[in-house]
Amino acid sequence: MAEVDEASKPLFAGLSDVSISEDIPVEGEITVPVGSPSHDDEYSTLDEPVKETILRDLKAVGKKFGHVMYPKKSTTLLRDWDLWGPLLLCVTLALMLQGGSADSKEDGGPQFAEVFVIIWFGSVIITLNSKLLGGTISFFQSLCVLGYCILPLTVAMIVCRLVLLGGTGTASFIVRFIVVVASFGWSTFASTAFLADSQPPNRKALVVYPVFLFYFVISWMIVTFSPSHSDGATDTGP
């Protein structure tokens, strides 16, 4: 290079004179590494077979069922909320509560729409209540938790219907009562395990009580379910 006074040269003027020696390698990757490889999966879910899509959602729902049955303090239920599970449970419960006996309109059990309305309307009211009391949980997360925690009660309903197939005497009533009480306790415990952390500490009881009332009403509907009779055989009595 020529020995010139550097102050009189403009910036970067000397670069054009730079020559690259041949034994310095100038190859390599210029790509920026993507954050996580799952981005590629998201991009291509349109092309995957329908079975895979459905199975993925079913697996997510099944995993959440597992979390409800063994309630630990985990945030999985809260983080990836979905409403498929609650819908499934609600429809199953409402269908199984049908077929109760009714002589007049006032005396029968709940209709399908009524169970639906009670569960969803009740969940919305409880969520609003916890948000108004200063909870940090979001609306749909709370709906998700309350809906998923109906799972023990649905299992109890299935057990009750099976027990009722065997007869409707006092023994069956005692068995049903114990099963429903146990599942009511389980549901309440599971939902408070998920919801309790998001409440201010001196208002926890205020938030837990409506949840207790909600599951109590559902348990009452399950315990008082009495199937219809085609013949005139009586059932109650010691």
Binding site: G100, D103, L133, L206, T224, D235
Partner: protein
């Protein structure tokens, strides 16, 4: 080139430092001015401010208990902030209550003491909607379920009785029990509040509570009916009437103690009429619940006869007593 380079570097590095330094200064100034404050979000700050204002107002209220009630009302209404009706914060201000406060208010509604006005002593300018709403909901469920259980207990020995959950009578949300209880808890306070406002406009010595405080008093006064309705399961008729009289006496006296100081300065007929109307409506609700959900043994005979299958012998039911 080197000189220009270093100049650029200096200016680039100096400005972030300057900005950072200034930020800390401002924050330090703020903290020194207000040592109790903690850096929180804007909403928390406004609620803290509101709380502090309320506390200072409360001190004024406690000190000047002897003074006229109008002055207090003016102070309070002047200092409360009014968030927008359509914002969530507006409704959140009605739920600004802790577990212990709710329990304290429930205790106050159960044990009316002659000196203690429920609004002044327990509400303390913080009426809430949590209590009235959930007490009404619990009351409807409790009365419906207890009614169902009492029917079941009464008819347990009857071989022709088939258990019915009577879901639509009380537990379902679409039944008249919900309507009547919630109407009582919301429309009667509305009417009373409106009446008191009208009287206070014509007669300056009559003051009135705010609408929310009236709703709050009525809601908490319904609490006594919850254990009463559970005890109504016991199928002894005179016990039920005793319980209903006791409950009406307790909660009616809470209402009277709350509203009497407000209305006693009015003309004689108006004040007595108001108090009578309050007690009458309260009694009507209690008796209505009892008659609708809980039937005595003699009343059971009639529906059973009509429900019996047509091939059965109607003489069987008449023999039972």
């Amino acid at each position: 080139m080197d000189l220009v380079d270093t100049d650029w570097k200096k200016t680039a590095m100096a400005t972030p430092e300057d900005l950072q330094f200034q930020e800390f200064e401002e924050a330090a100034q703020l903290l020194s001015a207000n040592p109790e404050a903690v850096t929180r979000s804007a909403r928390d700050l406004s609620s803290v401010k509101r709380e502090r204002e309320r506390e200072s107002v409360r001190v004024n209220v406690n000190l000047s208990e002897e003074e006229g009630e109008e002055e207090e009302a003016e102070l309070l209404s002047g200092q409360k902030k009014q968030p927008n009706f359509w914002s969530f914060d507006y409704y959140q201000s009605f739920f600004n209550i802790d577990t212990l406060q709710v329990l304290d208010r429930i205790k106050g509604s159960l044990l009316p003491l002659p000196g203690k006005n429920f609004v002044k002593h327990h509400l303390r300018n913080n009426p809430d909607l949590y209590g009235p709403f959930w007490i009404c909901a619990t009351l409807v469920f409790t009365v419906a379920i207890s009614g169902n259980l009492s029917t079941f207990l009464l008819k347990m020995g009857d071989p022709q009785y088939h258990y019915r959950p009577q879901f639509h009578k009380g537990v379902s949300v679409f039944c008249p029990a919900w309507l009547s209880v919630f109407c009582y808890a919301w429309l009667v306070p509305l009417a009373l509040w409106g009446f008191l406002q009208w009287r206070s406009s014509s007669n300056p010595s009559v003051t009135s509570y705010s609408f929310l405080e009236t709703v709050c008093v009525y809601g908490y006064s319904l609490f006594i009916y919850i254990p009463t309705s559970i005890l109504w399961i016991i199928p002894v008729d005179w016990l039920r009437w005793l319980l209903i009289l006791l409950a009406m006496a307790l909660s009616g006296s809470v209402l009277v103690l709350t509203f009497w100081p407000v209305i006693r300065d009015d003309t004689k007929p108006a004040s007595i009429a108001t108090v009578t109307a309050i007690l009458l409506l309260h009694a009507l609700l209690a008796i209505g619940c009892k008659m609708y959900f809980f039937q005595t043994a003699t009343q059971m005979m009639m529906p059973v006869a009509s429900l019996a299958p047509p091939t059965g012998n109607p003489n069987i039911t008449l023999n039972q007593s």
